[in-house]
Each structure stands twice: as C-alpha cells, then as structure tokens.
Amino acid sequence: MLEVSGASAGYGRVQVLWDIELRVDEREIVSLVGPNGAGKTTLLRVLSGMVPVSSGTVTFRGDLVNGRSVEQVVELGISHVPEGRRLFPGLSVRDNLRLGGWRGKHTDLEPVLELFPGLTTRLDQVAGSMSGGEQQMCAIARGLMSRPELMMIDELSLGLAPVVVDEIIERLPDIAASGTSVLLVEQDVDAALRVAARAYVLETGRIALSGKAQDLLTDQRVQESYLGLG
C-alpha cells in the first residue's frame, strides 16, 4: 500500500536519509525503531509531505506522495500523529476530534470513542488540561477521525508511564483490523516489536535491518543495541 523506494531527503544541504526502502501493507502494523537522530521523524515528515525527497519515490496506493503538499497527502488517506501530540490545547476534546475529521467532513465520534472509551467523559474538557496519556489517546483518536488507510504515529510513548504506553499500544491491533494500517515510530523498542508484524531499524539515516518483528526481537544486534540484553 505504502511504498518507499530509494528515497533520500534532508533539510537544505544537510542530508538526513539515504536510499530508504520501506513498505506498509494493508491492515498491517509496522514499527520503525532506531536511536535518536537516526532520521525516524524526518522519514515520517517525508511520508506526510512536510519534507521533500531529493531522490527516489514515495507512493501510496499507486499515487505519488512526494511533490504533494501536507494537505494533499491527508486527502490521499494518510494521517500523521506528530511527535509531542500537538493537540489544539485551548480547544475541547470534541473540537479536536471534529478537526481531525476535517477532511471528508466526518463528524461521527462514535467509532473512536469505542476505541478509547476514556475520552467519552472528557469531550467537553479543554485538551491541554488532560494527562499525557489521555492527550495521546486524543491525538490518535483525532488522527483516526479522517478514516485514514494509513496512520503514522511518532513517538507514541513520549513522556508517558509504561503502563499507559501498554494500554495505548494494545489498541493498535484493533485499529489495524478495522482497516487502518499503522506505521509506528517508537523509542520503546521492545513494545514496538511486540505489537508489529514487521519492523525496520533506522541507523544514521539508513535502513540497517528489516524483517519480521518476531525475528528482530531475537536478533543479536537488536538485543544488544536496543533491548539492553546480551
């Protein structure tokens, strides 16, 4: 569904990504892990049209993604839950969700509230006043409002307690099953690999490893570098 082939990108003269090959299939959870500064966030920015590619292509369901504006990429059915959540802090949870459904004018909150029932009682609360975990749930729910075919989540666990992270990650298989593939960028490599079908390890702007998440969990290099084992 999402195909990245030979993509390179960067900011101005600083190249960050080299020759990236990556693929996400329908109803699939794919994790993208790697150390700080490896280019994970930049890769997501390329996929959502914020950063242009200098070479290579990104296609989604056969449509070219690179060259489109951020707004046009949303039209294609790709939703990006950005690092730090970036809720509209002064607006209510309800308004945040409504804004998530801007594309296609989706106003039915029911499906996302079913996924995150905890938000139901928070609908009229100002988003900025919620706890980090609730804000992340709200951000993911907002990202789902446009009924995307692919949702990219950047640093889901940022600033959250492990138990909250587990609670949110547990929802991802339901999201994938309902027809929205998930591309997860995550520092918590163990959690990221357990929930995903496949995974990519990004190191200094290049894909260093890729394969079934199960295999990567037992890979010696991954265990030593990311899981603190070995």
């Binding site: 950005p82 970036r86 002064g90 801007w102 004018k105 446009s146």
Partner: protein
C-alpha cells in the same frame, strides 16, 4: 451630572465604533501573529467605498457597507494569499515592514484618487437625535454602535460555532498540526485576513456616517486598533469590544475634564495601567497562550 451622563453615553457609542475598527486587527494578530499596520488604511478605504456608493449611486451607507465589505474581503484575501503568505514565516519585522509599506501605498493612492480633503457620508438620520431626559443620543451614532456590537457578536459566533471558524482557531493555535488535519492553512489565513478587511470596511463606512475622514486618518486608526487589541487581549473578539468601549469612555470622560492633548494621552495611560495589572489584557489570551510555531 448631566454633562457626565452625556459624556458617558457619547463615550459608549464612540467606543462601540472603535471596537469595530479594532476587532479585525485583533483577529489577524491573534490568528496569524501578523501586526497589520495597513488596517487603518483598510478602514479609510471602506469609508471611501461607502462614500462613493452614496454619492454616485445613491446607496444608503447601511446597505453600502455590505458592498464595501465584499470588495474589501476580496482585496484582503488577495493581499494575504499572494503577498503576506510569502513572508508569514519570516520574523515579525518583515510583516511589519510589508504592511507598513502597504499602508503608505494605499494612503498615497487614496490621496491621489480622492484628494486629502475631509469628507463625510451624510445621511438624514445621522443628524437626528433622540432625547432621553437630559441626555441627547445621536441616532447615527446609535445605529453605528448597534452595528458594531452585532458584527462583533456575529464574528464570535462564526469563529466559535462554524466549521471554518474552528479551522481558523486551530490554525491560529498550531498551523503545522492544522495542516496535518488537512486544513488548507494558506486558504484559512487568507480568509481570516479577508474577514478582517471586510470588518474594517464596515467600520470605515460607519465612521464615515458619524464623522469626517481623510486618507491621513489611516495611521491613527491603526494605532487605536493596536491599543484596543492589546488592551482587550490579543485575538479575543470580546476583548476588543471591551477594550473599545473602555477607550471610548475614557476619551470621552477625559474630554470633559481635560484639555486637548491630554485626552489622547489618557487612552495610553489606561493601556499602561491595564497591562501592569493584567499583562494578558482585559480578557486574556488563554486561547493562544500555547501557540506553537512551525
């Protein structure tokens, strides 16, 4: 006592009009972080449009203001879309310079087209007065005040209750996140600026019916807008209304007891006092407190 009452009524009426002058300025500043120094010249343009329509087409300014608003909306949209959007990410000095230049251009243009003479839009009702006991209420100013309040309330309803209004608020809080929702930020910015220009045009037409105007007044309307927007709380429409009323009252009261230049100083004295006590303005800036720049 009756002089004080008279000054109070007059101040409130004038204040409502000032609020209408300032509300668009405050909207643009709050949403886009652009201090539009051409706002006063938009007000004067609106006044001339209303004047032209009345003199050459015989259209009453109460109708003409809608036509003036429509023209200025289109112009404002275009200015934002193809001019200010180019530099909206640049440091605020660049937008200040750009809108200052724009203001000079518009004011000189109006000097050439309309001359620097004072004009006013004369209507039958502007000179009529209602008497309430010992207090005289000029009908023209009462109408202008009513329109100012109605338009401000309508603007608040538009921003808080409609889909596009929500998009304007969201884009103002976090443009990057708004774009990720598929909200076309450039279009939303242009709409906001167009809306602001349309409000300036309505204000200008109303100013024209109750007062004289000339291109040279553009600067003082910009300055007043600035004071009122900061006084009320940036980007807050009710704040602008409150700030306008306060400035109107203070200037009117000051005119009663003080002479000449002191009257002008009082508005700024009030601004300083309010900012010392409440740095975020009368109504605050909670909506935009957590603005994120991308």
């Amino acid at each position: 006592m009756s002089a004080f009452l008279q000054a109070t009524v007059y101040g409130l009426l004038q204040g409502g009009l000032l609020a209408l002058v300032a509300v668009g300025f405050s909207l643009v500043w709050g949403v886009m972080n652009v201090v539009n120094l051409a706002h006063g010249s938009f007000v004067i343009m609106g006044a001339y449009l209303g004047w032209e329509l009345q003199v050459h087409a015989g259209i009453d300014p109460l109708l003409g203001m809608f036509a003036a608003a429509a023209v200025m909306f289109v112009l404002g949209y275009a200015i934002q879309r193809w001019l200010i959007n180019l530099v909206v990410n640049a440091p605020i000095f660049i937008t200040l310079l750009l809108t200052f230049g724009l203001s000079l251009l518009i004011v000189q243009g109006m000097n050439i087209i309309f001359s620097a003479n004072y004009r006013s839009i004369s209507t039958g009702y502007a000179s009529t007065s209602l008497s309430m006991g010992s207090v005289r209420v000029p009908l023209g100013r009462l109408i202008a005040f009513g329109i100012a309040v109605l338009v401000t309330v309508a603007l608040v309803a538009l921003v808080n209750r409609t889909r596009i209004g929500l998009a304007i608020l969201a884009t103002g809080m976090d443009r990057g996140a708004a774009r990720l929702m598929g909200i076309p930020a450039r279009h939303v910015y242009s709409l906001t600026f167009g809306l602001s220009a349309a409000l300036a045009a309505i204000a200008g037409t109303m100013v024209g019916t109750v007062d004289t105007f000339s291109p040279a007044a553009a600067g003082s309307f910009t300055l007043l807008s600035f004071v009122i927007a900061v006084l009320g709380g940036l980007g807050n429409m009710y704040g602008a209304l409150l700030g306008g009323l306060l400035i109107g009252l203070v200037e009117s009261w000051a005119g009663l007891y003080l002479s000449g230049t002191w009257v002008n100083a009082m508005a700024f004295l009030v601004l300083v006092v309010v900012l010392v006590v409440r740095p975020s303005g009368l109504v605050g800036r909670a909506y935009y407190a957590a603005r994120v720049e991308v």
